[in-house]
């Protein structure tokens, strides 16, 4: 799904909600996943100059999960540890998006290269 406008953020939240419900995530699990998606999608838009997200349903034995991968070809993150720190923002945000999203999911992975772009992948298992 494209992330190019504030309206796309609404569509991403809706899609993640639908997929989480389909996987029979509890209401709290759904809310956590949608909130994490909202934070990461906004970063893709605001800092990554837009990009896209890929949604993927996972099945590992009896375990089911939802994986979201946010990708942009923006400026990249020079210092990932700093970016993950609560309260750090290079814009006018609260600085809770990356750190908060990491707490709201089971698996969190971030790959970023200055001048090339950023990919943040999050997974939540049922």
């Amino acid at each position: 799904m494209p992330i190019r406008s504030a309206q796309d953020l609404v569509l991403v939240r809706q899609a993640v909600r639908t997929w989480s419900a389909e996987l029979k995530f509890s209401l709290v699990e759904q809310t956590k996943m949608v909130t994490a998606a909202s934070e990461l999608a906004r970063n893709t838009l605001d800092y990554g100059r837009g990009g896209h997200v890929t949604l993927e349903m996972l099945q590992e034995g009896l375990r089911k999960g939802l994986r979201l991968s946010f990708e942009d070809k923006g400026p990249g993150i020079p210092d990932i540890d700093l970016a993950l720190r609560d309260g750090y923002t290079s814009g006018g945000g609260m600085g809770l998006g990356l750190g908060g999203a990491r707490r709201l999911v089971n698996e969190f992975d971030i790959v970023s290269k200055v001048g090339e772009g950023t990919r943040v992948t999050v997974t939540r298992w049922k």
Binding site: L27, V28, Q30, T31, K32, T35, E39, G100, R103, L104
Partner: protein
């Protein structure tokens, strides 16, 4: 442009957020509320978020801004009806919504606002009385 309606009930402005707000809608609400507090001299703002299924750090910041601005304009803000799943998520996100008073529902929020507006008036009256002395 799409807008969230602001109702006036006596000295209180009542806002019910019923949609997944896109960013501009939230920013517009913040501006509209500020203008409305000034225009009506409202003493309280009640924001009902019981239909809101997601509050991320952006919306949290807007709610905080509204509370701060209304305080500057001598009005109190109470946010009511936050869904338990939203509250749990906000804590984990790291947003404690500092400075925002919350209540379970509109009725309780109204009671809270009324009480604090009455308290403000008592302080004013005391101030007036001491001026007269």
């Amino acid at each position: 442009m799409e807008r969230i309606p602001i109702l006036r009930m006596g000295r209180v402005l009542l806002v019910t957020i019923q949609v997944d707000m896109h960013d501009q809608l939230a920013v517009t609400l913040q501006d509209d509320l500020t203008a409305k507090i000034v225009e009506t001299g409202a003493g309280g703002v009640l924001i009902d978020i019981s239909s809101l299924e997601v509050v991320d750090s952006f919306i949290g910041r807007i709610l905080g801004n509204i509370a701060t601005m209304s305080r500057v304009l001598d009005a109190q803000t109470v946010v009511v009806g936050m869904q338990p799943a939203v509250a749990i998520t906000l804590v984990e996100l790291g947003m404690s919504l500092p400075g925002i008073r919350t209540a379970l529902n509109v009725e309780k929020g109204m009671t809270l606002l009324q009480a604090s507006m009455d308290a403000d008036e008592v302080v004013l009256e005391v101030a007036d009385a001491s001026l007269e002395d």
